[in-house]
Structure formats: C-alpha cells, structure tokens
Amino acid sequence: MEDQDIRQHTIAVLVDNEPGVLARVIGLFSGRGYNIESLTVAEVDDAAHFSRITVVTSGTPMVVEQIKAHLGQLVPVHKVRDLTLEGSHVEAELALVKVAGTGEKRVESLRIADIFGATVDDTTLDSFVFRIDGTSEKINRFINLMRPFGMVEVVRTGVVAVSRGNKGFS
C-alpha cells in the first residue's frame, strides 16, 4: 500500500464558525503528519454560522481516506467532501502580483497581464499590482512569466472549489 500513487485532492469541509475550529483542522494535519498544500476558510452562511474550508492535500488513497475520516469526526464538522474523487469540479484562486520596473520590461509585463486577463489594481510610476484569478496552474504560469520583469511580491488566496452540476453542498 506504500507503493500506491500519491495524488492531490481538493477537500471541502463545512464547519461551525466557532473559535478554535481552524486550529482543530490544522492540528489534525500537523499532528498526524499530513500535508496541507493550500487552505482557505471563510464564513459562507452568516445565519447558520457555517464556514467552508477548502483544503488541498496530497497522499496515497489510504492517507486521504484517513484525512477525510478524521475530519468527519471533528465535532464542529458537518460535512466533508472529496471534490477530486467526486468528479469534475471548478477550482479558482486569486493572486496579487507586484511587479517593479520601468521601460521595456514594464510595458511587456502589462502586455502579458492583458493576455492573461489580469487587471491592474494599482500602479505607480515604477510598479504595478496585478490581480489575477483562475486555476492555480494559470496563476503559476503568470507568476513565472512575471519573474524576469521584476516581480517583487506575490500573495495568493489558496484554492476555493465547488462541484459541477445542479447539486448544492449543504
């Protein structure tokens, strides 16, 4: 079973928005040696006080099953869904990318940003802050292209994801 392939999974978790809930989730991963590749959390239902956590992790099928079983047993957790196993889903991430420079590089960075559909959220005479959203892979490509143009700072939200089709989560 150790030889089984390690695969990336995107897991959606619906939790009570209460103090300590994020610490429980993170502690579960760190305490058992699981990976967190990305994690996002925000309240999604202010009447019911539900937050939704999207966690991207990787592991063998046995490890991923363990992760989901442990998550499901946390008292404030209402639902756990493995979007990767459940079939096609939509993933998105947002990044702010600061590129500093003047002259030809500055012009080229703006041109590529335009191709990627990134918007300019702020500019000074020698810098841009681009905002780009989309799949993680698209953002990776954008960041790699911006690097030679004087990228000085990048911040990413981490992945949020939702399943396709007409069914809701809760």
Binding site: G27, A69, Q73
Partner: protein, 586 residues
C-alpha cells in the same frame, strides 16, 4: 424549573446530576473555588479528593471502565489542567469516556499570563476527543450536556470543559439537554447490511477463520461480549483478544486462544499469521498486535468492524470494512448466520483446530519453576487461584508485570480488567484501582504493579486511606524497570543503562506510613499465606513480592518481526537478529 436564577457552579452541578454523575475525582484550587463551594452545599454528587490531578483522571478512567459510565474529573486552572494531560491522552488512546472540568482564569484575564493561567484548550486539543472553553454563562448547561454526548457516542474518549472563574461565579440559567439528534456529531451505530451479509458469507466458507476482537466489544457494553461469545460458540471458530479486549470472551473458554500480540500466546499469534479469514471486531491493528506490517497475516481476507471510521485501513488494508457498533453488528451477523442456517466447513475447521492444538501444546507460558526464588509468573498464578471465585477487578501499571498479569490472570467477564494499553502509562494502576473501588465498594480490587511504576503515583495511597478504599497493591518487585531491562538485555548488549532501581523505599514501611498494611514475601512458600492475608485485611494493602530479578517476559515478538518469528523463551534464538528498522521501533 428551567429559567431559575442560579450561579454558573450551580448550573454545572445540576447538569452533571442530570447526566447521572454520582462521583467526581478532583483537586481544588483558586479558579474552581466556586464549584467547590457549590459542592459543599449539596449531597447529590460525591467528591473524591485525590493527591495529584494525574491521579484524578486515571481514577475516573478506572471508574468508567469498570462501570461503562462516564468518569468525571474536576481540576483547577494552570498546573491542575497540565497535570491532567497524561490521563487525558491515556483515555484518548484507550477510548475511555471521561469529562474533565478544568478551572480557568476569568474571561477578562485570558491571554494575560495571569496567575495559574494556561491555554488549556490549546494544550488539550490533540489529547481530547473534543474540548470547550465556556465564554458565556448561557452556554454552560448546553456545553455540559453536549460534552457527555461526545464523550460517550461513537468511539468514546475524553472531553475537556474549560471554565473561567467569572462564568462559575456569575448568574447563569439552567437548560435541559436538547432533544433529538446532535447538530453535527452523530456517529453511525448500525453497520451497512450488505457488508454484514458479505462478512457472514465469507465466514460460512472460511477454512481457517479467526476472531480477533478488542476493546470495541467491551466499550459496546456487556451485551456485546455475550453476543461475541455466543457467535464464537455458534461458529466453532477460534478467538483471540487484544490487551484491551480481555474478558470479552471468558478466558476459560476452549475456543479462546489467549491474548494476541507482542507478548501474546504462541497459538494466538500463529493463528493470526496463518488464518485465511480474520474477523476483527473492535480492534485497531495496533503495532503491538501486528508486528511487522508487510508480514502481517499475509494470506487472510480481513473483515474489520469498528465504530471509528478512521481506524479502518489505517495500518492494514482490509477487504470488508464495516463501520458501526460492535454489539449491533454482532447481533446482525448472528441473525443472518441463523437465518441462512450456515454451518461452518466442519472438515476444514477440524484440521485448523488440529494445527492450533499443536501450537497450544507448546505451552508457551511455561516457565522454569524455582524452589528458592519467587518467579513473577508463579506469584500471579497463585494470586489467580486465590481470587478466582471472588468478585474481583484487576488494574495494572505498565511493564513486565502488566504483560504477565494479562497472560496469567484469566478474565471471565468484561469490565474487570483495567490497564493502560495505548499510551502505556506507568502510574496508571493505583489511581485506576481507586476509581474502580469507589464504583464497586465491596469488590476485591487489586493493582498488579511493579516497584518502579507504583512510585509514579504512590501519593494516592493517601486517598485510599482517607476514603477507606481497600485496594490491594500487589507489587512484583524485581528492583528493575523490568521491561526496560529486558529490552536492554535483548537489544542493547546487556548494558543496563539507568534501569536499576536504586534506593527503593521499604514498601512495608511505606504502606504503614500511609495508614495501610504492608506485607512482604521473599520465598515461594510465603506467597500463598501472603495472598490469603492480603485478601483478608479489610483495608488497603501493599504486598511487596520479591521476585526473580532477571526473569524475562515471553513469548515475545521482537520489534520489527513477524508473528511467526515469535520467541518462546530465553533459549529460543531469534530467526535473525533484530533489524535496523526493528531497532527504531518502540
């Protein structure tokens, strides 16, 4: 009555009483003074004053394991809570329902490094099933009711409720337990019917089947143990139990092969290795049981019944997982077995039993008797003979004596055997015995101990004296940390680094200092008289049995070895030296 004005402490005690709590094990301090004041004014709940908070949690564990109820602990903030951490971790590993109330500094001082402040919910998050910090008095009653629900349902475990002093002191309103399902925590109890059917079909066809059952059967209640025994008889299959499961099937039953695992019997371990169908009910493929994983029961189809979904496929990949309560699933299995009029494959089963009987004939628990030195196994055999007919409960500390107790004291019923399995907590046995004796005042409660372990919570002798709890401490005194010494002998070239107990106290005088009776035996012929005297004394006793200093505990599966590489005794050379990987394992 709902809506009455009370303090937080009143609400707390009322909620505890509503949950059926009769006794609390605790130790006072500044942050919990309001609770102690409320306790003083009532008679519904009894409080047992321990001598250290660690003892309180183990006492609550002993109480819980011997009754099936939730054990309740009350400690103060800061050091009170941190002292409870070992017991909480112990209860988590062994699935014991415990509710631990911890004091906390008032809400406005939280995070201020106030006197006796500790981040109790932060510290206990990984060692509890769940924990709460009550920040609003209106949440108090609901949280207490919920804590009992969480501690008991599914795989049981410890729950901490952290109680700031202002919440306890201020006005609060009581509320009844909410009706209906919990909003998020409702573990599955009934198993998937198709998986159960599949399991029963496999059983009907099996040629070399084996029941491998554990603490999940005990935790499901005495009914589950009865059902298991019934099913074992109905099928004619052999059955082995884990350390936590002892008593689920009577030890005297012919179909019981003894305990499985590192110090389990030869026949149980070889049957695990060679079976073609393993029916695991309420055991978790612990590393003490499996040995080397890639050589674990290589040719068996595995059925795994567990209430904890995260125990399924954790260490060992199984073929038929069934999530649910052991008792419910056993009931379903039995009714399907009956309805389909299954008969086991008699011919195959006969030849399987023949093999098992040949292994049994090796008499793996045999030891060399001695006329002048007390062998620890001999002392336990004599103890067992003397207590057989009595209503008795056994607790242990951790080490060689614990394994010998598991091997030599036969458990006929569930809930009679309290030992620290998962965490291996030295110092568990004495406070646990205290909790058992509180729950069963008239029973014979014996803590089988080592001289090293007993010193870890020896202060609780004072609690025994205060409440006249007639616990018998039966020390197998070899003046070594025996299991450490054994590993040093077998794995570290006999370099007995720090495992010799120098400057041991005189346990007879120590007993007397605590108002108990001290007894000592140094020769085999003294053992019977000592045990008779110990049982006859109406009060706590420390019996100091001076045993062979160099005796090792066998059988033993060396770390990193497979079941069929089990060592039977000192002359049994390992098939191969312990591997590098094995040396790393504990």
């Amino acid at each position: 009555m709902t809506g009455e004005r009370m303090t937080g402490s009143d609400v707390l005690l009322r909620a505890l009483a509503e949950q059926g709590v009769e006794v609390i094990f605790g130790y006072p301090g500044g942050a919990v003074l309001p609770i102690y004041d409320a306790l003083f004014k009532q008679n519904a709940i009894r409080h047992i004053l321990v001598r250290q908070e660690g003892g309180a949690v183990h006492a609550a564990e002993g109480y819980a394991r011997s009754t099936g109820k939730v054990g309740v602990v009350l400690v103060t903030s800061g050091p009170g809570a941190t002292n409870a951490v070992t017991g909480l971790t112990d209860a988590l590993m062994d699935s014991i329902p415990v509710v631990c109330l911890t004091g906390q500094v008032p809400t406005h001082l939280i995070g201020n490094d106030a006197f006796q402040e500790a981040d109790t919910t932060g510290i206990t998050r990984p060692c509890t099933k769940h924990n709460y910090l009550v920040k609003r008095s209106e949440d108090l009653a609901r949280v207490v009711h919920e804590a009992f629900h969480v501690a008991q349902k599914g795989r049981p475990g410890p729950v901490v409720i952290d109680l700031p002093k202002d919440i306890l002191q201020g006005a609060a309103t009581y509320s009844e337990p909410p009706p209906g399902r919990h909003r998020s925590y409702n573990p599955q109890v009934k198993g998937d019917p198709s998986a159960i059917e599949q399991a029963v079909e496999l059983m009907a066809k099996a040629k070399r089947p084996l029941f491998y059952c554990g603490g999940g059967v005990i935790n499901s209640g005495p009914g589950a143990s009865q059902l298991l025994t019934q099913f074992v008889h109905m099928t004619g299959f052999p059955c082995t139990l884990t350390l936590m499961g002892l008593g689920a099937v009577p030890a005297s039953d012919k179909q019981f092969l003894g305990m499985v695992g590192m110090h389990g019997t030869y026949e149980a371990n070889l049957a695990m290795h060679d079976c073609d169908l393993m029916i695991n009910i309420g055991a978790r493929f612990d590393d003490r049981v499996t040995g080397r994983l890639n050589a674990f029961s290589p040719n068996s189809v595995k059925i795994h019944v567990d209430i904890d979904p995260s125990s399924i496929n954790k260490n060992v990949a199984v073929d038929v997982p069934i999530i649910g309560d052991a008792g419910h699933i056993l009931e379903d299995m039995i009714s399907i077995w009956k309805a389909r009029q299954h008969r086991p494959d008699g011919k195959a089963l006969d030849s399987w039993w023949k093999e098992i009987e040949a292994w049994r004939a090796r008499d793996c628990l045999h030891y060399e008797p001695n006329d002048s030195i007390i062998k620890p196994q001999f002392a336990l055999q004599r103890l067992f003979e003397k207590i057989k007919g009595r209503d008795h409960y056994i607790t242990t500390e951790v080490g060689q004596h614990q394994m010998w107790a598991a091997q030599f004291l036969g458990f006929e019923k569930p809930n009679r055997w309290m030992t620290s399995g998962g965490l291996g907590t030295m110092g568990y046995g004495l406070p646990a015995a205290m909790g058992v004796q509180v729950a069963h005042p008239d029973a014979l409660v014996i803590d089988v101990a080592g001289e090293a372990s007993i010193l870890m919570n020896i202060q609780e002798m004072s609690t025994l004296a205060q409440y006249r709890l007639p616990v018998k401490v039966f020390i197998l005194n070899n003046e070594y940390m025996g299991m450490v010494r054994q590993w040093q002998e077998l794995l570290h070239g006999g370099r007995y680094s720090e495992s010799y107990m120098e400057s041991l106290p005189d346990f007879v005088k120590l007993a007397e200092a605590f108002g108990a009776t001290g007894l000592r035996a140094s020769k085999p012929e003294e053992v019977d008289d000592l045990i008779d005297e110990m049982i006859a004394i109406d009060g706590p006793v420390i019996a100091d049995i001076m045993v062979d200093k160099t005796e090792n505990c066998f059988p033993m599966i060396p770390s990193g070895a497979a079941h069929n590489e089990i060592l039977l005794g000192p002359d049994d050379k390992a098939v191969r030296p312990v591997s590098e990987e094995g040396m790393v394992l504990v």
